[in-house]
Amino acid sequence: MTAVDLGLPTLGGLDGVPTTEERQTAKDYTSDQEVRWCPGCGDYAVLAAVRSFLPALGLRRENIVFISGIGCSSRFPYYMNTYGMHSIHGRAPAIATGLATTRPDLSVWVVTGDGDALSIGGNHLMHALRRNVNLKILLFNNRIYGLTKGQYSPTSETGKITKSTPMGSLDFPFNPVSLALGAEATFVARALDSDRKQLTEVLRAAAEHRGTALVEIYQNCPIFNDGAFDVLKEPGERERRIIPLRHGEPVRFGPDGEYGVVRDGDTGGLRVAKVAEVGEDAVIVHDANAEDPSLAFALSRLGAQDLDPTVTGVFRSVSRPTYDDLARAQVQQAVEARPGDLQALLRGSDTWTVAG
């Protein structure tokens, strides 16, 4: 049986999850536990965004599960009045895979950080993405290890001075969006903790995607890496640097759309140009649903460690059968073809009888 000939109906990310008519508010998603992130932590903004966007989905709260790994952001589940598991370092995607595979009636969310997802848990992240399990992964990227008090992370810029790298870090960082696209992800997006509107849009799109959705959220750590994303928040700089992607629209940014993204004939990739110089027709139109991830990948390569520029929004959103749907379909197919007869199984085909 191949992955494509099952004739599965096209499903949304939340199909199968029971809904409620009951009116919900952010408060309904707030647990009785005191939130204990540091004052000014970007995690607060993300928590608030998640609590306030979930009611709009109209799901039964008890059918939502948050699973996290280890790190500051991984305390997230404790603050949500849903089911949750704060698991072990890096393993949340694996645990969530088992849960999502056995329970199609749940909306399963993974909360992780740059160290959790990309260092110790890199293997699980990459395999969850290629399998396309129906999970939503929120990757809080603050480019630092916070809970262990300030060591460089796999997304820290090269040369970063930290407690563990007093002469500067040596490793080249991951670009999480590029990594996810390379790992065959079907949904990849990036947002900023401070931009509630875009974050909410991206979360909503992720929730409705059937398959693994990776949302990288740039998140400020005020204690160990304060201001890491300030350049993306300062008026003036913000407009000059952030390239917001909108499906079906030309990729333009800057004051009055002064800049645009165009194909670079020399590299085969993309580059930023002044629209006035290249003409409007040269600006590429974003197609998040394109089967071929090349353009999405090229967009993810715009901007380097210095965040100049920084592409945000949904890079890729394509439909591909999910691992959990396929696994359940195989079980169902087997049950329908020949329901299990335990006595017959134990008996097998070669038996002999000893008379009493």
Partner: protein
Amino acid sequence: MSVTAGSDTPARETDVHKLDRVVIRFAGDSGDGMQLTGDRFTSEAAAFGNDLATLPNFPAEIRAPQGTLPGVSSFQLHFADYDILTPGDRPDVLVAMNPAALKSNIGDLPHGGILIVNTDEFTKRNLAKVGYEANPLEDGSLAPYQVHQVAMATLTKGALEETGLSKKDAERAKNMFALGLLSWMYHRPTEGTERFLREKFGKKPDIAEANILAFRAGWNYGETTESFAVTYEVAPAKLPPGTYRQITGNTALAYGIVAAGQRAQLPVLVGTYPITPASDILHELAKHKNFGVTTFQAEDEIAGIGAALGASFGGALGVTSTSGPGVALKSETIGLAVMTELPLIVIDVQRGGPSTGLPTKTEQADLLQAMFGRNGEAPVPIVAPCSPGDAFDIALEAVRIALTYRTPVLLLSDGSIANGSEPWLIPDVATLPDLKPTFASEPNAPDGSGEFWPYLRDPETLARPWAVPGTPGLQHRIGGLEKAEGKGNISYDPDNHDRMVRLRQAKIDGIRVPDVVVDDPTADARVLVVGWGSTFGAIGAACRRVRAQGMRIAHAHLRHLNPFPRNLGSVLRSYDRVLVPELNLGQLAMLLRSKYLVDAVSYTKVAGLPFKAEELQSVFTDFLKGADAQ
């Protein structure tokens, strides 16, 4: 040739010797199909009604260099007209398909034993490859044995001449020639093998027919040549009445998991990464999706157990199967399962260690890893099957404990149980235990607040409620951080931690397990042998032999290693001396000594092979003499 294979007795007059038991070892190159040959002979013996036990022994390399000593693969089977306990110490019959097989196995053949040699492989080059300076078939060194020199490859090629198969393909059927010859010698039924070959090569009928022709040619060779003057009969065994089948430990274990899922009325999720010698459990379970079994081949050992634990959180039966190195990788997740108090089955098919060790060989050296191999105080129940068939029952027992007490359970099988086989009295499904768990459905706060307290324990079992996502009003968060007793919120309170650590320990210590039964036929033995796991057969057989010589010895075999049976302390104290044979350096002995302050004496072996009954007989005899001298 006019004689056809398949008749019950040879037509040619031979001396028929009646034997009560026979041990046959097929040995050849790992490409010679010795495992298949042994397996088929086993099926024939099983179909005939003999009791039997088998010991496959093969290299870790899939195809080691041809004709070399490391490439030798063997399959030993012991069949008898009574209930036997081991695959046999030494073969009565050795079939050697090449010089390497002869060289590495002849040392085990007692003088007077039957040696059947495939002479075609005894070329100068092959002899030199394994360091034979002279041809042992010619230099008289095999004089102590009854040697039958048979040009199996030549005879097989001759028999298949008219099939149009290439010489190379034809020669590959020589293992079936050997099987045919042995089947004739021991009056085995042959229909099963012919049927099996037709099914196995269903898509290649010419290969199926070639193998059947080779099989018949082997039979007919015995029948028509005069070189075999004697054939042997081993009557069916008098086993307890019922319907039997042959089963390996890995298959029995997989069936146990399927059965447990059915009896618990839970879907099963098996999260596993391939590893020798446990992979066959995954393969078997993957065939049984129609029982609601989902198998997930994960990216690594950690993801395998992670997925299983995630499934358990969701109310399924989570299972992971592995070997020792895999348990090492899974340790942290086992700790998380201890902390979150969720049911989980961790199957460890032990192999020779440490590290990669001896992947295809057997050992019992993971007991202390199972017991203590986690950070913090992380008690986990441990069970171990004592034979291939028992792996079915122990899987059900592991699931009973996991579901009743909401805990991960370590199930310690080993390489010899996994690949060994024996006749199995097929259980009546109606008699299997009811394992259906109760899920939490209502808020349970004792203060009447209407809250749900995920760490409020059952006063009897100390288990916490299993409230699965999707249950309205019971939303809660669990995790690896210490939780407050009752309410289950994160707690760093010193007294709470002290209490929770003790509660988790008390829960495991309080698990109800059956008392250990002592085999002490005269009821007056002064020496007790305590074993666990796959050594059951060898210890039992050695005890029988010692008793047959008029000595008294008792045998207790543990299937529950944590907690130990409640009566174990009094059992140990009621004997003067306690001897603990193990395939490790004394791990059970260490636990018994520390828990019961008993002066248990270890007998240990770590050779990658099971104990031999003969070896233990001599150890027990010496030990009994020593005990008498005291």
